[in-house]
């Protein structure tokens, strides 16, 4: 089963081509990483795939539905944890979960919220206002919230950006725990994150999707010794 297909997906901001004719095919249950330096076009790609912004041209098909026609149906089955932490600052963690459960009109919301509290070990911060939490906790809550509607497809935009090593490793564990059940598209500019978490990696540079493959395939293709060298070799090709 294919979860996401794009055809010549393009986004221009005035003259700037942020995303250039991208063709993607992502399988259901796959963890796909979009890897690239700052400004490569990762966030713009994710925003188009999640229905936040309209493409300049090209097509998006998600779960066999066309984004142009069925945008509100598609929005029911996906969720996103944006690049900057996105939680209501003056609400407690519990209230944030309840609010988002309301946004997605979750039927059995008590159970779902308790499940997330357990899964992310949120007990100790449940009654704290979101704005008082550390960066690591905020990110964890942000990701927990994005699972509230049991999304079929989850977008994680730079989930570990700005976190310390310990918090990052903890988040990696959580993301690994989600693998296989949900189709996950993760963006990152950390090579080791893409290499250790994902099934396949798409390397973006200057709005182009330069190459796609498993880390091993990409290393083999570029005849390099490690993934870092492979990335540099591929990314510079896009310039």
């Amino acid at each position: 089963m294919v979860a996401i297909v794009t055809r010549k997906l393009t986004k221009k901001f005035k003259d700037k081509v942020a995303v250039n004719e991208i063709d993607l095919k992502i399988k259901q249950g796959e963890l796909f990483a979009l890897l690239g330096v700052n400004g490569a076009g990762k966030t713009t790609t994710i925003k188009m795939l999640s229905g936040l912004i309209l493409p300049t041209s090209g097509d998006i098909v998600i779960d066999n539905m066309n984004m142009k026609k069925d945008i509100f149906k598609i929005k029911e089955i996906l969720n996103i944890s944006p690049q900057e932490t996105a939680i209501a600052p003056n609400l407690t963690v519990k209230e944030n979960l309840e609010f988002m459960a309301g946004v997605y009109r979750i039927k059995d919301k008590g159970n779902k919220i308790n499940e997330l509290i357990k899964q992310f070990k949120l007990d100790e911060i449940l009654t704290k206002r979101a704005k008082t939490l550390s960066g690591g906790w905020q990110r964890k809550v942000s990701i927990a919230i994005s699972l509230i509607n049991d999304p079929k497809i989850l977008f994680l935009d730079e989930p570990t950006l700005g976190l310390d090593v310990i918090a990052r490793k903890e988040l990696w564990k959580i993301i690994e725990g989600l693998k296989g059940k949900i189709t996950i598209i993760l963006t990152t500019h950390y090579m080791e994150e893409a290499e250790s978490l994902s099934d396949r990696i798409g390397i973006m540079a200057n709005g182009n999707l330069v190459d796609i493959g498993t880390s091993k395939e990409l290393i083999r293709k570029t005849k390099t010794k490690n993934f870092e060298d492979a990335f540099v070799s591929i990314a510079t090709r896009g310039e």
Partner: protein, 244 residues
């Protein structure tokens, strides 16, 4: 529960937990209401039956300010990105913002009238009517806030918001009648909607609309509809362009 009410509940919590919003929307107007009754000012403006509606209007100008701040804050935080990827529709946002401020407006009205009655305002059914009318008028102040919050950043809302506060103070006639200055100033007062708002609420409270002119009604309706439409148009526009 609808998405709109769910969103309104969240907005209300954000507002009521901001101590500054309570200070300006409730404590400051109450203090002024109390303060001006301590001196025997001979002008009619300061009589309780006139000054209480003025204080309500003054309180509304801060409703504009804090609505603007909430919208601008939401816009610049990733919170709206998250909601933008959800099935929420534009009407859920706009109505959710408007609805969330109405309880605050009700709290203001009830408290201001309560204090006024304690200080000697005669209780009558007109008070209830005035509260209802001013709830309608408050929708104009809320949508003005949504419009400002859609146009400028969080920093900018402070500036524009305080202009609205000043305009309410000087052009509504709450402190002095416009003909005491006259000339261009008088025309400005007539073109702006704040004097009309005050004439409507004062008229309702006195059950005497002799001060209310047809021009007042027309001016108010034009502003009410125009600002509501503009707030919807610009919020939708910014909601998309911020995420571009």
């Amino acid at each position: 529960m609808t998405r709109m009410i769910n969103f309104a509940k969240r907005n209300f919590k954000e507002l009521i937990r901001d101590p500054l919003s309570l200070v300006f929307e409730i404590a400051l107007p109450l203090f002024l209401l109390f303060l001006f009754q301590q001196f025997d000012i001979p002008a009619d403006n300061y009589k309780l039956e006139n000054f209480t509606p003025s204080i309500i209007l003054f309180g509304f100008s801060f409703i504009t300010l804090f609505a603007a701040t909430l919208v601008a804050k939401d816009r610049t935080s990733s919170f709206l990105i998250r909601l933008g990827a959800s099935p929420m529709k534009s009407s859920d946002y706009i109505l959710g913002y408007i609805l969330s401020l109405l309880p605050m407006v009700l709290i203001q009205n009830v408290l201001f009238f309560l204090v006024a009655v304690i200080m000697g305002l005669e209780f009558s059914i007109s008070i209830i009517l005035t509260i209802l009318v001013s709830m309608v008028i408050s929708i104009f102040f809320i949508s003005l806030g949504i419009l400002i919050g859609s146009l400028v950043s969080e920093k900018g809302t402070g500036g524009l918001g305080s202009i609205v506060v000043q305009l309410v103070c000087f052009t509504s006639g709450m402190y002095f009648p416009k003909d005491s200055i006259g000339g261009v100033f008088e025309i400005i007062c007539e073109i702006l909607p704040f004097e009309a708002c005050l004439n409507i609420t004062q008229g309702t409270l006195h059950n005497d609309f002799s001060n209310l002119t047809p021009a007042d009604i027309v001016v108010f309706l034009i502003y009410f509809i125009a600002i509501l439409l503009l707030s919807i148009i610009f919020f939708k526009k910014r909601m998309i362009s911020d995420n571009k």
